[in-house]
């Protein structure tokens, strides 16, 4: 099927099989490999991107559902010279180790901060319910999100 979508500000028209996932479109067709896939039951959150402003698991979005959408991925939120405050906070607080969950974690965290005022530690922990990290024990991720919330 033919779909069009805007990814990180660039419009794309693509011919893809209907049984293609947004995560595969991003990774395989557009070579935006920052979006990772870590599970097959929509739990781990490594694949989280923003679709029309909402954080969603791109491994659970069919090509047809993404048709016409505006998508922002980890590659679209900042540049090495002009990082998003959440990216800076993750680096400054050592909120990542192997880096695999990081793109999805950052994308979730950005939405969490943008949609909630006055975040507490517990609210951050609850808000990251949809993202698994096996390296950090979440301690520094929580710190980073709270730090970014003060900046954003």
């Amino acid at each position: 099927m033919e779909i069009s979508l805007n990814v990180n500000g660039t419009a794309h028209s693509l011919e893809v099989p209907a049984n293609t996932l947004l995560s595969d479109i991003l990774r395989e067709r557009l070579r935006l490999t920052g979006t990772h896939v870590g599970c097959d039951t929509s739990q781990c959150g490594a694949c989280v991107v923003h679709v029309n402003g909402d954080a969603v698991k791109s491994c659970t979005v069919l090509a047809g559902q993404a048709n016409g959408a505006s998508v922002t991925t980890i590659e679209g939120i900042g540049t090495p010279d002009d990082l998003h405050p959440m990216q800076t906070a993750f680096r400054d607080n050592h909120a990542l180790q192997c880096g695999f969950c990081t793109p999805g974690m950052i994308m979730s965290a950005i939405e969490l901060v943008e949609k909630n005022d006055g975040l507490t530690e517990q609210a951050v922990r609850d808000g990251l319910e949809g993202n698994l990290c096996r390296c950090t024990g979440y301690h520094n991720i929580v710190k980073a999100v709270l730090a970014a919330a003060r900046q954003m």
């Binding site: 099927m1 099989p17 209907a18 049984n19 996932l21 097959d40 039951t41 929509s42 739990q43 959150g45 989280v48 909402d54 954080a55 969603v56 698991k57 491994c59 659970t60 979005v61 069919l62 090509a63 047809g64 559902q65 048709n67 979730s108 939405e111 969490l112 808000g127 319910e129 949809g130 993202n131």
Partner: protein, 265 residues
């Protein structure tokens, strides 16, 4: 995923026609259950019919003490709506933020997953499930494990919930999946009490004996002596049927306590 054709009809009629003409059709609402099922090749529909393009199915309206939630309204939208606080609270605890951004009310109730949250609200909040063909009383909607009163091809269009005078939802989440191991919604409508239970049995149900006990004495302690028959309750790695039976009581008491403290506060 096996190959399939994808459709995004603009009307319920068009959707129903597509379903009728498909070898094996599947409706897609938010996709939170269907897409993982497809990914694991546990289903092989010939046609996937996305209902989110149907006009008028998304949104929340109030009318005569009822709140009508369109079938393709996302959990996050319900969670942010203030008309029925207990419904917002329940919706805000479904799955995780990403599920709430995609998952829909209609998808959840039509699926009748025994561990889904919304069904507790459908039975406890005296709901009416509207379809493209008829209106079904909430009490009559859930028929069994992944079974509802829906006929083949029938589409949920909206659910009306009756606003309670006070209510609370107590949930014991599955530690792994975050579905409900047990969820109990206690709602007061004046002197009447409705108690909806999800997670415990094959599908959501009203706990008549707890309702009776609470109608007589609306305090947590009133639930202590209610017999809970867990004979046909679910059992899995996370909870035995007996433990689920125990949780029904504990959560019902907590919901009552929460209502009580809200009343007094």
């Amino acid at each position: 995923m096996y190959a399939f054709s994808y459709h995004k009809p603009a009307t319920a009629q068009e959707a129903a026609d597509l379903m009728a003409s498909a070898d094996e059709g599947a409706y897609l609402a938010g996709g939170m259950t269907l897409v993982p099922t497809l990914k694991q090749r546990l289903a092989a529909p010939s046609d996937v019919i996305d209902l989110t393009g149907i006009h008028g199915l998304r949104g929340i309206r109030t009318l005569d003490g009822k709140v009508k939630v369109g079938a393709t309204t996302r959990h996050a939208e319900v969670a942010a709506n203030e008309h029925i606080p207990v419904l917002a609270d329940l919706a805000g605890r479904i799955g995780d933020p990403h599920v709430r951004n995609c998952g829909t009310l209609g998808g959840s109730v039509a699926n009748s997953d025994p561990a889904a949250d919304y069904p507790a609200a459908v039975v406890a909040l005296d709901a009416t499930v509207h379809t493209n063909k008829r209106a079904i009383a909430g009490d009559e909607f859930f028929k069994g494990l992944f079974e509802t009163a829906l006929e083949d091809g029938e589409i949920v269009t909206a659910v009306d919930f009756r606003a309670p005078s006070a209510a609370a939802y107590a949930k014991f989440p599955n530690p792994a999946s975050r579905y409900a191991v047990v969820g109990v919604l206690v709602a007061r409508y004046g002197d009447q009490v409705r108690v909806g239970v999800t997670g415990a049995g094959p599908c959501a149900f009203r706990a008549a004996n707890i309702e009776a006990a609470l109608a007589a004495d609306f305090r947590p302690g009133a639930v202590d002596d209610v017999g809970i028959d867990y004979g046909d309750f679910n059992a899995d790695l996370h909870a035995s049927a007996e433990y689920r039976g125990h949780l029904v009581r504990v959560l019902a008491k907590r919901a009552v306590a929460q209502i009580g403290s809200a009343d007094s506060g």
